[in-house]
């Protein structure tokens, strides 16, 4: 139910912003690349890690949705203006929440995501050690 409310609110919000956008020039860089290949590469690298908010598990670099186009355009413009990709990511997170970035940050909620690989490494090492220690003794 909470998800549903969120969804409805989200749709309403995007609807409103879409209406507002109708009177403004469309996102100029949604389907246009930056002329500087280095900047374009940086922009694309960032876009590939930003989630399209209305699609089904796609990044904004893989999406036809209008909002994804707006976000691509924003990112290209900001990169062109010389902003740091991580700063842009921070700005997007501030605006849309952690949900928007595919690169989770280490927070009090997400730390297990980063502790787990370490735990797995330790566990793997222990498993292998136990296995092979016994093996050496037996043979």
């Amino acid at each position: 139910m909470k998800r549903l409310v969120g969804l409805v609110a989200g749709v309403a919000l995007f609807g409103a912003s879409a209406l507002a956008n109708d009177t403004m020039p469309a996102a100029p860089y949604a389907y246009r690349q930056l002329s500087d290949p280095a900047k374009e590469a940086r922009a694309v690298a960032l876009m590939e890690t930003i989630r399209c908010l209305v699609c089904q598990s796609q990044s904004i670099a893989d999406s036809d949705a209008p909002i994804a186009g707006d976000m691509r355009s924003q990112i290209r413009q900001r990169i062109d203006a010389g902003e740091d990709p991580e700063a842009i990511r921070g700005w997007l997170v501030q605006r849309y929440g952690d949900y928007v970035t595919y690169a989770p940050r280490v927070t009090p909620v997400t730390w297990p995501l980063f502790a787990a690989p370490l735990a797995l490494l330790v566990l793997a090492a222990l498993l292998l050690r136990r296995r092979f220690k016994g093996g050496e003794k037996a043979s």
Binding site: Y31, T49, Q56, S57, G97, A116, P117, L121, A124, E136
Partner: protein, 668 residues
């Protein structure tokens, strides 16, 4: 009428599954031994019945019988026949029915042909299979009846999601399901072996073809799904670490580990408990996948219906099946010893290492997929995507690939690295050369660089087991291993090349204008409307030429379906030996002056959005996947041929003994 017959057949099949479970479990006790005779026939009849139910549903879709609710909601009379039939499993109920159908047929097949194990183990196995099926029958009959009628009958159906109206739908879900369900057979074998305490080489040899078969289909299903996403989504991506993709990757990882530990158990009688555990884990991952995909907990093109009741049902099934299996494992694990010992530097040692690495990758993927659901329950929405999965799994995948290159050269039980060192110089040289070339090329990010370096080494090393052997005498199973490992290297090469060297061009082109993308010049020669059976489209006419060579025509479309109304872009691809040209036609663009798009009669004078990619060596990804599956098929053939020869030889021995006995009798 056929719908009711289908439903009746489904209920009967469910009842037989219950009987099969009861009879199978009783038959292994001394008291119920006389029930043993009915278990195999029950499994066969159950398989036939559920296949009939499925056929009934397919027939309803084929004729678009709108009085069946499922057909009305998901089909449309104006669809091409192939999508009407494939549409049977393009929805929740139908796909679950496909699942139990494959499961019933697999169970029947096992009952018919599997004679290599002690009969008691087989009875327990078939009982276990019935236990799992029963849960899914309950789910279908109680929570997602595919044969429900609709009254009044609507005039027309809702149609099928256009993204699914693709030949991929006819191929991708059935293959994956065969893989998922094949693992249920391995799971049942593991249960049967645990119950009767028969975990040994014979069990591993009996289980291996099933695991191999399931694994081949999973590999094909994932590869096909990836290629489907690649060309249908229109942005050139082929793997998104989407939860649904992960749901198919996880059983594959577990099955890969299981396959290899099965080999160790079959040839060396080691890793007993570990193999049984993996058998349980592999099918658990299939079920987790089904839960993730079918519960609607994920919003995705795969989650056909969002219904919390179904989600809880599958979750309960998951808990019962996996819980019961784990409890059984806990009770019996102490009686299953680990078996033979071995040294670190040995074939087994390498296989164990890779098993642990595969399991760790599985752990990462599982956590990354499920954790967002956990945080959402805590009120925080986070996304976990490629920036997490790729490096985290690489931590384990890179050492795994290195060991995969060395392992097949080692001997069983105990070996010295010094013995194989000379052979490893070749792959090492290939890797170093690749690293130098990539370094000279410049601008390659860390992940693709690692891939570009590793892949040639893996490719060369995968061929080394053939060195110094007469190729005609190499066993088929060894060929299988070589081809599958080669496929991994080839796929890795494709992935690394795609991330490192792809070129993207987005342009708003006027008719007659040319654009350069990589080595290709692509000219927009025209745009014209075309129509299909249930869509209309604007089709671009692109003429591509490379270094002045002969032109190639590509026809990407922007396609509008009318039932349901949705626009999708249909990409056009041109494949050459060293890569793929990928073209997409987008929307019409307003002119620089800010004019509104020109009327349709004036298609030729407006500007069109084009998305173009040159993707060097990208087809290697799927070619590699196909090689992996081919390797699996070769190994399967090899194993089955060996089993068959042994079976025939045993028959001959029995025959000869009988004749000798007969001759002796005559003499006397």
């Amino acid at each position: 009428m056929l719908a009711e017959l289908g439903l009746a057949a489904l209920w009967l099949a469910a009842a037989l599954a219950a009987l099969q479970l009861g009879a199978g479990m009783l038959a292994i006790t001394p008291k119920g031994a006389e029930l043993a005779g009915i278990v195999r026939p029950l499994a066969v009849v159950q398989g036939v019945l559920v296949a009939l139910a499925f056929a009934a549903l397919v027939s309803r879709f084929a004729v678009t019988d709108l009085s069946v609710k499922l057909v009305a909601e998901n089909s449309h009379s104006a669809k091409p026949m192939i999508y009407k039939i494939a549409g049977t499993w393009g929805n929740h109920e139908g796909s679950m029915l496909l699942w139990v159908t494959i499961m019933g047929l697999a169970g029947g097949f096992v009952a018919l042909v599997e004679r290599r194990l002690p009969e008691r183990t087989m009875l327990a196995t078939l009982g276990g299979q019935a236990f799992v099926s029963l849960g899914f029958y309950a789910f279908l009959l109680l929570a997602s009846n595919p044969f429900e009628r609709l009254n009044p009958v609507p005039a027309e159906g809702n149609g099928l999601n256009p993204l699914l109206q693709d030949p991929g739908l006819a191929f991708h879900p059935p293959t994956l399901y065969v893989g998922y369900v094949g693992l249920s057979v391995a799971f049942s074998f593991a249960i049967g072996a645990l119950i009767t305490r028969e975990v040994g080489p014979a069990f591993a040899r009996a289980m291996r073809p099933w695991v191999l078969g399931a694994w081949i289909f999973l590999t094909l299903g994932i590869t096909a799904g990836s290629y489907w996403a690649y060309y249908v989504l229109g942005w050139g991506g082929w793997w998104f670490w989407d939860p649904v993709e992960n749901a198919s990757l996880m059983p594959w990882l577990a099955a890969t580990a299981l396959l290899h530990s099965c080999s160790v158990l079959a040839s060396r009688n080691a890793l007993r408990a570990w193999t049984v555990m993996l058998g349980v884990v592999a099918f658990s991952m299939s079920m987790v996948g089904t839960f993730l995909v079918r519960s609607g907990i994920l919003t995705s093109v795969h989650a056909f219906a969002v219904d919390p009741k179904r989600g809880s049902f599958i979750l309960a099934l998951l808990a019962i099946n996996i819980g019961a299996a784990l409890v059984l494992f806990g009770l019996r694990a102490s009686t299953v010893s680990e078996g033979e010992r071995f040294a670190v530097t040995s074939r087994e040692g390498a296989l164990v290492f890779n098993n642990v690495m595969l399991s760790s990758i599985l752990g990462i993927v599982l956590l990354g997929t499920l954790y967002p659901l956990v945080t959402e329950a805590m009120g925080v929405k986070v996304s976990v995507g490629p920036p997490y999965f790729t490096p985290m799994s690489a931590v384990f995948a890179v050492p795994m690939l290195v060991v995969m290159a060395v392992g097949p050269l080692l001997r069983w039980r105990r070996d010295r690295l010094a013995r194989v060192r000379a052979g490893l110089l070749l792959p090492l040289a290939a890797s170093v050369l690749a690293a130098v070339l990539a370094g000279l090329h410049g601008g390659v990010a860390l992940m693709p660089f690692i891939g570009l370096t590793l892949a040639p080494g893996v490719v060369v090393a995968s061929l080394l087991p053939l060195r110094g052997r007469r190729l005609r005498h190499v066993p088929l199973a060894t060929w299988g291993m070589v081809v599958a490992h080669l496929g991994i290297g080839v796929a890795l090469m494709g992935m690394a090349c795609d991330s490192a060297f792809s070129v993207q061009r987005l342009v708003a082109a006027r008719v007659g204008e040319s654009t350069m993308v990589g080595p290709w010049a692509v000219k927009l020669a025209g745009v014209a409307p075309v129509a299909g059976q249930n869509w209309t489209a604007l089709e671009g006419d692109l003429v591509a030429s490379r270094d002045g060579s002969g032109p190639v025509r590509l026809a990407p479309q922007s396609r509008t379906f009318w039932a349901p109304v949705q626009t999708t872009s249909v990409s056009a691809l041109h494949t050459v030996w060293d890569g793929q040209l990928y073209t997409v036609l987008g929307d019409e663009v307003a002119d620089d002056a800010g004019d509104m798009p020109t009327p349709a009669s004036d298609l030729a004078h407006s500007r069109w959005q084009l998305r173009l990619w040159w993707k060097p060596f990208v087809p290697l990804i799927w070619a590699g996947g196909a090689l992996v599956a081919l390797g699996g098929a070769l190994a399967l053939l090899g194993r089955l041929a060996t089993d068959l020869r042994r079976y025939v030889a045993r028959g001959k021995i029995v025959d000869r003994k009988q004749r000798q006995a007969l001759a002796r009798g005559e003499r006397a």
